[in-house]
């Protein structure tokens, strides 16, 4: 089973196996559809994995905005008693369009595509992609190759990790005492 946060709503981690499977599925979709960007995000706005023609910083911004949009639209659905939560959203533009669709309860896909792709093709192939992603996400958070959360914990607990983090933050942010 996938590890969950204390509120029980959101997976805490993605194993190497899961990440590799997700990346491969996104790459295949990107190649087949000739879309601009295909990205798996979580509901808090984090870009989990992506394939496409945007740098990482812009992917982070796109993911954050899409999460806000997705959450706001879900609230609108709630207000008008729409049970689907408007799980699928389509924003049509002249040069580029965006299709957003849910994957399990806590993830969603963001697909940006231009004139090289058609909405019909994107929609059909997205359904297949969603199935692949569901399978990968339901694999579980602990790494089958032997890298469970304990390895990350071991890194975090090292005193030199905390000291190195503090030192980097000092150099980036500066340091002064509290009141």
């Amino acid at each position: 089973m996938t590890e969950l946060l204390p509120d029980g709503t959101k997976p805490i981690s993605l194993s190497r196996e899961q990440f590799s499977a997700i990346e491969q599925s996104l790459k295949n979709f990107y190649r087949k559809t000739k879309c601009g960007v295909v990205m798996l995000s979580d509901e808090s706005g984090l870009a989990v994995a992506q394939s496409g023609r945007l740098d990482a910083a812009k992917m982070a911004l796109l993911s954050t905005l899409a999460a806000g949009n997705y959450a706001a639209t879900a609230q609108m659905a709630n207000l008008v008693s729409e049970a689907t939560g408007f799980d699928k959203q389509y924003h049509e533009g002249r040069e580029n369009s965006i299709y957003i669709t849910g994957v399990l309860q806590t993830f969603f896909l963001v697909i940006v595509f231009g004139k090289e792709s058609t909405f019909a093709m994107i929609r059909v192939l997205a359904e297949k992609l969603i199935e692949e992603l569901r399978t990968a996400l339901e694999l579980g958070g602990a790494d089958a190759s032997g890298t469970p959360a304990s390895e990350i914990r071991m890194h975090l607990e090292q005193q030199d990790f905390q000291e190195e983090l503090s030192s980097r933050l000092d150099s980036i942010l500066g340091s002064k005492g509290n009141v």
């Binding site: 959101k10 981690s13 808090s44 890194h155 983090l165 942010l173």
Partner: protein, 194 residues
């Protein structure tokens, strides 16, 4: 929090919370202006025509790889106005730490308190133990002539004995100190959770 073992990456979310006009966006804008552009994203501002935050502001920054791990920090502000209650709940989704930005101006004490109650309610709704959750108090606008004395602010707002800082975010005073402390508390909590 989200750990990607494939990338050895940990994403953490810190939210600036507080009443309208307390200086949440000012904190983020100062940080954005003074962090090396190679280490941070652009800043996102979703504002009304009147320059008020309508949904959230956002910036991501990182400190590079440490002992094989890449921590990334996602910084958000919430809209402070009362009418944006739902937006605040949405932005708290997946939050790892809070910087509570209080306005030191005497007429704002009621707003400071009401927004803090709103925060506590929202955290509890997400099943967080508020007393153990990483919260930093920033008493902003300390240069106001009618600034409430520090002991009064502390007694009224900081009931958790959380770390606290005086600040004038518009001048950058207290901005980085709060952020650094928030990050350190968040990492300590993550260490216990994973």
């Amino acid at each position: 929090m989200f750990i990607n073992y494939g990338l050895n990456q940990i994403d953490l979310k810190i939210v600036y919370y507080g009443p309208g006009f307390s200086g949440k966006t000012t904190n983020l804008e100062w940080a954005h202006a003074h962090i090396d552009p190679g280490l941070r994203s652009d800043i996102l501002n979703l504002k009304t025509k009147e320059d008020r935050t309508i949904f959230f502001d956002f910036m991501q920054f990182e400190v590079g790889k440490i002992k094989g791990l890449t921590p990334k920090f996602n910084l958000y502000t919430v809209p402070g106005q009362d009418i944006y209650t739902v937006s605040r709940k949405i932005i708290l989704n997946g939050v790892d730490g809070i910087i509570y930005v209080a306005d030191s101006g005497a007429p704002r004490m009621r707003d400071n308190l009401f927004t803090l109650i709103d925060l506590v309610k929202n955290l509890r709704a997400n099943k967080h133990q508020v007393e153990e959750f990483p919260i930093i108090f920033q008493y902003n606008k300390r240069d106001l002539p009618d600034a409430v004395p520090l002991p009064v602010l502390r007694k009224t707002l900081n009931r958790f004995s959380a770390p606290e800082f005086e600040a004038c975010a518009a001048k950058g005073e207290g901005v980085f100190e709060c952020l650094k402390t928030a990050i350190e508390l968040v990492v300590q909590r993550v260490t216990k959770l994973v």
